[in-house]
Symmetry: none
Subunit: 247 residues, 2 copies
């Protein structure tokens, strides 16, 4: 059994002003297997609205660690990444969410305590907070409307963590089997012959002036990747068609 | 100046039950440059809660197109991708959000009308709705908690579109052109209706005992990605078939 949860990753929300966003962030995290939530000086918490928006991620809300400073929330973490919508004049390296997730998963694996930090809804992280981060993450929104909802930002970042984790986990034997039983070439040839006969019977196809009909039909059904049931259905249709044409 | 907005992509929410999610979805879209929102039978709309959660994306909410059926919302689109959290026994190809975005951007460029469809909060898309989709998208959540918030799912999908677009903007200018003129959803619906009529005429299909014939037919031709000439050919075949059956 491979690891599925991110036991070494914490999500830190600094001064969240709206409890609904705390609940929505908890839900976003949990869908991607991140369950450790830290709240630095939340404006209203605990609050019924957090539970309302958390859906069934109320355990993440209940287990949230509330601290009175970012420093306290980061205690024990060895790698800190902070999100920022604005470009700042700061020397920290800037990553997009994918680069950040790849770095976290490939370079740090499951052994290092990692914190991913999000600022408050209105102002984001302060310059002082950002200075505590080893990397800045910028979600690549459009220039004229860059303000993601706080929980939506958490969703994007944790989604990228999950994608990076899965790309590490997926070995050949895990690849989902396509259990459709594809039809064989000879079954397809039988179908094409049947279509041709039926179309002659109903007067649509004239073998003396074939034009491109049958090659088009082949192209269509090659693209469709027919399985055996599909071929049976189509041949049934052609059988009735041919019979009707001969009547 | 390179293109930044996705003018050919619409986001379709089917039966959204909570207006707050409509607003949050609008905001999520706008941060990633997707601005065309369609709502199929929203439970409460317009509603002040949608505006409250939309933040400054109220223009996306105001311009939303409300329809009474998914079919209507898909009109004119040539490629339809539907999100699904559950695995269904359906042969439509399954993509993760990244694969879906790469397909949309690299194969279809900016020329083809594309719809990305999301189901309602409680149940997702119905099987019938999913049959209208050429591809299914599954966001890779953890097994025991797969329920992303609706707007969070929209955020992930549109984020991947934006990432794929940005990777193209910096890449060499050899965008693969797909010069087939794909048929639109309404043209396909016309074809399906025609097939059904023809199969009734030749006595193969009994509308009283429909079983799964028409849904199989839809699956086959969705996979085949028919262009306008393909549809013309198949409709010609069905016309002769129906005439022959009625004789």
């Amino acid at each position: 059994m491979r690891k599925k949860m991110f036991k070494n990753i914490r999500i830190v929300l600094v001064n969240p002003s709206h409890p609904g966003n705390i609940g929505a962030a908890a839900r976003a995290m949990k869908t991607m297997g991140v369950e450790r939530l830290y709240l630095v000086n939340p404006e209203r918490f605990p609050d019924i609205e957090a539970y309302y928006r958390a859906s069934r991620a109320d355990d993440v809300v209940n287990n949230a660690v509330v601290t009175s400073s970012l420093e306290e929330a980061l205690k024990g973490s060895a790698l800190v990444l902070g999100t920022s919508a604005r470009d700042r004049e700061m020397p920290q390296p800037m990553l997009n969410p994918r680069q950040a997730a790849e770095k976290v998963i490939s370079e740090y694996g499951g052994d290092v305590e990692i914190a991913m930090v999000f600022g408050c809804e209105k102002y984001g992280l302060s310059n002082e907070d950002l200075l505590r981060c080893h990397y800045h993450i910028k979600i690549p929104s459009v220039d004229n409307y860059s303000s993601l909802n706080l929980a939506a930002a958490v969703q994007v970042i944790t989604y990228e963590l999950r994608m990076a984790q899965l790309s590490q986990l997926v070995a050949p034997q895990d690849v989902k089997k396509n259990n459709k039983q594809l039809s064989t070439v000879d079954e397809l040839e039988g179908l094409y012959k049947h279509i041709e006969e039926a179309m002659i019977a109903v007067g649509f196809f004239d073998p003396q002036k074939p034009r491109r009909m049958m090659s088009r039909i082949r192209q269509i059904f090659n693209r469709a990747q027919l399985d055996k049931d599909d071929v049976d259905l189509l041949r049934g249709m052609m059988k009735s068609t041919a019979r009707s044409g001969h009547e």
